[in-house]
């Protein structure tokens, strides 16, 4: 330990050069890195704010430039350009680009008609999400009560958002139309010819082919991903729940009230922060163990099976892979029943005389610690085979000469694992580890099908009911959404919080894993 003596006068709190760093002991190196990670946080936060600030600044600069450009186009343009500011596509048509011009024109007409017929209606409803309650009317002839339609908050919100997006699309297209005129003028000035409709169409199959290909997927992403996410985020700021479902009872904007219930400690039993904190911490513990137990055990199993001299490799692999041949939810439900107090496992223990009577029954799902351990262990059982398959493939890819030279240098098996296999593995599977960690934070199936979140924890009792000791944020969210009061707004708030946690972790880890930093290392 001479090195320790040498490094005595180096303070771990100062920045240390590479050479000095090598002098430190392993423990000191780790400590140094931890200290500097935390030392770096203020700087990191500061630079984040700087970045956001510069983004905002750039945005305004961009707007300013764009506006100047629009004004200049108008001032310098001929009458065709000027008219195009009001009648979109006029310039294009007048200059012979009929197809382009018509497309602009049709879009403008559609926009105006839409806004007149429906757009302003929905836009007007957006601030209140509807004011007219649906009612009932009595029909004396048939002796029945019928529903009289009123506003529907759900539609007000959805179509209101769609209208705003449509307006943005219109502004973008209008800007495109202006730009188009400017470009056309410049081209004509330089004496060249404008593209014909035929050229336009054929370019969509040639140099613009990416646009043709991406049109459909992008539309799909917009309607099936972007719009629902936008909608769900907005729901967090309303009181949309079972009692205010929009169709029969209107819901409305409530500002930050819903977030208040997570963070305001003065709400008594309406306050969810204790439950949220408890569940979040278990969620992270679970995600950590579920990810790394699977990872290392999977790797271990794969290495064992891959070892020279192991016979019947295919059979071992086959047996393990069988667990994934049965759909996961079936095997999970079955295992859940198996381990219940009156399940197969306890029955077997009783019948074989290993436990003498009921008092020794193992209540797997009714004890907090036992239930938590069980879900992790069962997760290993269903997760290891996948890891084994992935790892087997990677193991075969590690150049054999690395091991050969290691052996010649006298490295033992453990050294080979820690110096060659593990770094290689971490490099290749780093992103996988990250995604599977995030996947485990949201691992609804394993938890809900095994324990449904139980055992219930009386300490987490709030007016929204109680949460269990194995509840993850996502199963808790499910309970709240499908629970007695169908609190969609709260589910949306929790969804946003999960997103914050996940993105925070993902950003840190993503920047830390070797795969994204040293691309060259293993190529």
């Amino acid at each position: 330990m001479e090195k320790t003596n040498n490094s005595k006068n180096i303070s771990l709190f100062d920045d240390i050069g590479d050479l000095d760093l090598l002098q430190l002991t392993k423990f000191q190196t780790i400590l140094y890195k931890i200290i500097h990670f935390f030392k770096g946080i203020p700087n990191g936060v500061a630079s984040l704010f700087k970045y956001i600030f510069s983004l905002i600044k750039n945005f305004f600069v961009w707007i300013k430039n764009d506006l100047t450009d629009i004004v200049q186009t108008f001032v310098n343009g001929d009458y065709k350009t000027k008219l195009s500011f009001i009648i979109m596509g006029f310039g294009s048509i007048a200059r012979g680009q009929i197809l382009r011009g018509l497309l602009f024109l049709v879009f403008e007409i559609v926009f105006i008609v839409y806004m007149y017929v429906a757009g302003f209606h929905w836009l007007g409803k957006l601030p209140t999400l509807g004011t007219e309650l649906p009612g009932t009317a009595y029909d004396p002839r048939l002796d029945t009560y019928v529903r009289v339609d009123g506003d529907d908050s759900f539609k007000c919100l959805l179509y209101g958002v769609l209208t705003i997006l449509f307006i943005l699309a219109f502004i973008y297209t209008w800007r495109l139309n202006v730009k188009q005129n400017k470009i056309s003028e410049e081209i004509l000035k330089s004496g060249k010819k404008l593209k014909s409709a035929k050229d336009d169409v054929s370019s969509l199959l040639d140099e613009q082919f990416h646009k043709t290909l991406l049109a459909l997927p992008l539309t799909g992403i917009f309607f099936f991903t972007v719009l629902p996410i936008l909608f769900m985020i907005l729901v967090a700021f309303t009181n949309y729940d079972g009692a205010h479902d929009g169709y029969s009872n209107l819901f409305t904007w409530v500002g930050m009230d819903n977030f208040n219930s997570l963070f305001n400690l003065n709400l008594g039993a309406n306050n969810l922060s204790v439950a949220f904190g408890e569940i979040l911490s278990w969620t992270l513990i679970w995600a950590f163990f579920a990810t790394f137990t699977n990872y290392f055990l999977g790797m271990f199993v794969a290495i064992m099976i891959n070892k020279k001299g192991i016979k019947f490799k295919k059979i071992w692999r086959g047996i393990l892979v069988l667990t994934s041949a049965v759909p996961q939810f079936i095997s999970l439900l079955y295992v859940s029943k198996m381990f219940s107090a009156n399940g197969l496992v306890n029955g077997m223990l009783l019948n074989t005389g290993i436990i003498s009577d009921l008092s020794h029954i193992i209540r797997f799902w009714e004890d907090t610690t036992l239930a938590r351990v069980m879900v992790i262990v069962i997760n290993i059982w269903i997760g290891v085979p996948y890891l084994m398959l992935i790892v087997t493939g990677i193991l075969m890819n590690i150049p054999a000469d690395l091991y050969e030279s290691a052996r010649i240098d006298g490295a033992n098996a453990a050294q080979q694992f820690f110096k060659i296999t593990l770094p290689y593995m971490l490099f290749v599977t780093g992103p996988y580890l990250l995604t599977s960690f995030i996947g485990n934070i949201n691992n609804f199936n394993v938890i809900y099908l095994l324990t449904a979140g139980g055992p219930d924890n009386p300490k987490l009792l709030t007016s929204a009911g109680t949460a269990g000791d194995t509840d993850l944020l996502v199963t808790w969210l499910f309970k709240i959404t499908t629970g007695a009061e169908s609190k969609y707004y709260l589910a949306s708030v929790i969804g946003i919080m999960i997103f914050v946690v996940v993105s925070f972790l993902a950003l840190i880890v993503y920047n830390a894993i070797p795969s994204t930093r040293n691309e060259e290392d293993y190529s």
Binding site: V110, V113, Y114, V117, A118, H121, P127, T131, P134, T136, Y138, D139, L142, D143, T144, Y145, V146, R147, Y159, L162, F166, T219, F223, N239, G242, A243, H244, D245, Y247, S248, N249, F251, T252, V254, G255, D257, N260, G268, A269, N270, A341, N342, G343, G347, L350, D357, L358, I361, E366, P455, D456, P458, L461, S463, A464, G465, T466, A484, E485, S486
Partner: protein
Amino acid sequence: MKKLLKSSLILSLVALLLCTAGCGKKEEGGNEGGAASYDITVWVSESDGVTDLTKEQIERFNAANEDIQINATIEGISESEAATQMITDVESGPDLYCFAQDQLARLVQAGALAVLGEGASATVKGANDAGAVNAATVDGKLYCYPLTSDNGYFMYYDKSVITEDMVDDLATLVKACEDNNKFFSMEYKTSAWYNAAFFFATGCVSDWKTDSEGKFTSVNDTFNSANGLTAMKGMEILAKSKAANSSSDGSDFSKGSAVVVTGTWALSTIKDILGDNMGVADLPSFTVDGQTYHLGSFSGNKLMGVKPQTDPEKASALQRLALYLTGEECQLERFNKFGWGPSNVNAQATDAVSSDPTLVALAAQNAYATPQGQIHGSWWDIAKVLGTVAETATSDADLQAGLDNYKAAIDALFSLNGYVFVGAWNDWNNADTEKAVMTQDGENITITLDVPQSDYMGGRIVAAGDWGTDMGCQQVVEGADLIVAYDAASNGDNNIIFLEPGNYTVSANLSSKEIKIVKN
């Protein structure tokens, strides 16, 4: 107008076609051969054979009513789940559906049930037992059709383990189960519907009141009391036993249970397993501190509801169909096939029904049962945890702490009641009823508040926790000189703005929306 809006939307956002086409309304009521034809969706219990029987019954209804042709799509959805699924999307929900009684208030509040016409109301009231009619009523109006009167629980036991002289005492039963290495199955910690039995035994009540819209306004809940503590001690007899198994599954008899507390719906399963060894009885009694209490229970009904329709012809047709499906003939049929206890008084009077052993046990238990009124949905989630408290408690103080938490959670459900004058003085917190002292007397509310000096001394009166209930500022009948009545149409706010800081008393009438303002 709505149709026009919709079609124009489709026109303009071509891609929207994909979405809206799915929700496009079906055309109904096409007249063919004089009979109005309706395509409807029906949800009934997912138990074996129920959908088939319902199909037969609807066909019979079609044959008997020549002016109506019902084309029903029948789906099996558990009666305890139906409400949750219905509330998720009332608009595209089923036209006719069955649900358990505890879901009624939620459904009324969500506007998912059509009130019965006067003729239909009279028919239902005349044909069904009083408990069933009460169960289908909210604030004096009949919202649905009683389907069964058997939604209660009692005790099934295995005669080879339990003898008839044991069935009266809980401790004896639990001991017999322990001695024979058998389980005692009762959902004491997974369902408040079952563990409430202990509280009803000691005379505790949980009475909930709703207004006409199904919103809960108050509760008389005595679970957190000396009697409640006794009930918790009674629950400990079961919860602390090694034989305890929190389940109400009839198939438990094949998994080592000697006693299962459940209802009529488990009959066929249990009969298949136990055969002649099946015994039924009312629930046992338990003894705490030398006093004996007979376990109570919930007694209730399963109900059938009709979704509100905009077309009166269809509403009327559905009303007739629901009356038929819940009538004597269909109820008896269900009793014969599935053993469902009828709510129809004529059906109840038949020999087969009145001598049915499970229904006899249920009737014996009914003497101790609490009719299940309208109960706040969250109560089920809150109260079930009391079973876990009884199981894990190590002292009476633990039991009491559990009850205290329970009470706090129940009270919190109502902390958002009342009205609040939101503004800068309480940080626009519409859930904070404390900073503006409020008293309510029927329709009249009085709020005393301190308005501090600030740039914007404005605010408005809303129901606590609900921005959608703005009282407005148009009808200030007194004290208009103290304020600026302000109507910002741009964002829909109707704020009352005070001209100077000070202490004010604001009184308002909830129905006439008249506001009086006095400076103190």
